[in-house]
Symmetry: C2
Subunit: 154 residues, 2 copies
Amino acid sequence: MTDVRYAEDYKPGEIFELGARTITEQEIVEFATRYDPMPFHIDREAAAKSIYGGLTASGWQSCLIMIGMMHKGFICSQTSLGSPGMEFKWLKPVRPGDRLTGRVEVEEVRVSRSKPGLGFVTNVATLTNQLGEIVYSTRNVAIFRTRAALNSVP
Amino acid sequence: MTDVRYAEDYKPGEIFELGARTITEQEIVEFATRYDPMPFHIDREAAAKSIYGGLTASGWQSCLIMIGMMHKGFICSQTSLGSPGMEFKWLKPVRPGDRLTGRVEVEEVRVSRSKPGLGFVTNVATLTNQLGEIVYSTRNVAIFRTRAALNSVP
């Protein structure tokens, strides 16, 4: 995202298509070995015998793929002030070779009453695989500067 | 966690102290450069001018530090079946040199009615900094095999 967007520039109902990317077995195993070493994320044989029937990606890798896509196509780094937290669902396993498509829909935009320099952009972000199944979904609040912030001390 | 623990082996009220670890500026910048490149995570000068007044870690790094600690001291990799999702709060910025202490408290343990081989361990996990401030908190459900699973097809 190269244009400057303030909180008010995000509109309820607005949709951001974030493109797609394929996840490889090597990426899955490397990430999980470092951060989330469950047998069904890192060991092909153990994974085959597990309830998942084969390697699956760490759910945290889906989170980071989503945030990476959001940085490219939704979050304005010049006005973003982060987030107070998050809730999300891991709905389906992500497997080697899956092609994940990202999408964000703006649900609500609200300017802080106590700090008018801040705006809260509630959005629903999803990753969908090549079968059309949503594998990851989050409803979250992204905080951005408002245009009012231009005229106030941050 | 080296002992095998089934869902029933986790007890409501049980506390797991997960130890502490210090996060460095280099780790913060490297992680965020790759996964969450906000100026206040990766650029010391931009961070100093931001509302955070200096570099802060990506909240996603806190998530991964927490899950790493949970792997060592809470999650049994032989019985864990992952999680359906998560909610969490990033309560305070994490800064270079912060020492984060992990802790998990088991809140509820429930065996699935429809799939008695599965148990749901609701827990509250936190990271606390050297000032005693909780910086990250999550209430989540971890799924583990039950002892009943020993006698059933998974």
